[in-house]
Amino acid sequence: MNLDLIFFLILSIISVSTALGMLLSRNAIYSALFLVLNFVTVAVFYLLLGAPFIAMAQITVYAGAIMVLFLFVIMLLGAEELPQAEVLPWQKPLARGLAIVLAIEATFIFLTRARPIGDVAQPDASINTVTNLRALGETLFTQYLLPFEVTSILLLVAMIGAIVLVRKEKRVH
């Protein structure tokens, strides 16, 4: 049992339990805070996998921007908790059963049918140097230049869409 594996097991316990906390807590604010912790744990996984840029992007974009937006909307709407009222009583057990089947199936296929393609690379000292980041940027701006530019249009469309959606309608006389 080496150090990487111990790190991985501790982090995966935190990750799964925070995801379950997000799922099970009744208060939406607690759910959002659990999800922030889960995102930070996934960012540490990215560091373990030797992807420091993605880890920092995860923390700034997900844990920073997206979850703050979520918390803002939860507090704006005052919709922390919903009254308990089940419309379809059989829906929840059925969904849980199907989800367990999905988890077992996916795990089984990944563990047995997928070719063993090896271990993840050891994060060495090179992830701290600029060469890693430079190589990432070179790939992004040469091989994936068109998707990168399209992303900017997507963000513009999303911004305009959000503004149009929450804009006050002008009264037509």
Binding site: M22, F39, V61, I66, F70, L82, V166
Partner: protein, 100 residues
Amino acid sequence: MVPVNYYIVLSAILFTIGVVGVLTRRNALIIFMSIELMLNAANLAFVAFSSVIKSFSGQIFVFFVIAVAAAEVAVGLALIVEIFKSKRSIDVDQMSSLKG
């Protein structure tokens, strides 16, 4: 060294928790958070494979997924705010205006 299969199994578990959230919760915001969790699980699998084959493509896909998730959250939360304004609730069971 951690075998990549461990990461994939963890990703599958996180994805399943997200699926359970979408299927069982009725708060539209929690459903949205569960979708974010599923996107994260897929990202984790991307980065794990990218680390195994020592290529940057997986990490760049994660970069794009994060950008798309940001756009999705902006539009989705605007929709939720609009629904709350007209229905005074974000319970997805209440959004049944089209039901005959």
